[in-house]
Symmetry: C2
Subunit: 146 residues, 2 copies
């Protein structure tokens, strides 16, 4: 017997996907609008120093979007935890990106933290750690964004 997910869980899954869709579309205003825009915002991009506060987080997205020609994510092993006004999404990012004419494939383990605002869920923390290439066929578990 299937148990329907709590509506909050579906909302968080939706906003988590919206973050990756904004990234794929290289739509900076859409990405920025999904974030908590205050001192509590933080971000650890693969290979970057940790970013703390909205100024640093925003500047990094501007730089990343300006320097990326295209990027595609397949998300696997997506796990959502929600309680009250706080949510955590753990997932594997399977990434294909193009920058300076060079195509790069990679994988990262990401933790995304969301808080409930008066207008809906917003992302407050993103931490992505590069991991080794896929060691098995995880295609069945993928959540494709397209």
């Amino acid at each position: 017997m299937a148990i329907a997910p709590h509506p909050d869980q579906l909302d968080v899954e939706r906003i988590n996907l919206a973050v990756y869709r904004a990234f794929e579309a290289l739509d900076l205003p859409a990405m920025l609008a999904l974030w908590v825009q205050d001192d509590s915002a933080s971000c650890v991009h693969p290979g970057w120093e940790p970013l703390s506060g909205w100024g640093e987080v925003r500047t990094a997205w501007e730089s990343i979007f300006a320097n990326t020609e295209s990027i595609r994510f397949d998300l696997s092993d997506v796990n959502v935890m929600v309680s009250g006004s706080l949510a955590v999404v753990r997932l594997i990012e399977n990434i294909e990106s193009e920058s300076g004419g060079e195509i790069t494939q990679g994988r990262a383990m990401a933790t995304n933290v969301f808080v409930r605002s008066p207008t809906g869920w917003l992302i407050v923390h993103h931490q992505a750690t590069p991991i080794a290439a896929e060691d098995g066929d995880e295609g069945e578990a993928n959540t494709t964004l397209h």
Copy 2:
């Protein structure tokens, strides 16, 4: 005027410190007792592949504790978010460890996720990303465990 933190926040800070104290004491039973011991447990140690489920998480702690002679953490930039039965702690780990007679100093940005159980808060996810050495004097912000 100081605003007293919510009791839940103090409880989460306390259990977060207990994780690092168990690590410093290389007290495996104490560390294992702080974890959610089911499929939801996950861990990303610096330089390791992501670990998913209690079996992998427990085996990794056994291996880490067996291969560490000593380890000390100074925690800085500790930020706690709590809502309902879910909590997220973000922090910088300033680490000094000894293994095979060799002393290593390092820094990592960690995200620790806790869930409220009938017996108190338990850690369900730990993700630590290595970062560059300290670029300024952050001693004032440190939370020393000793």
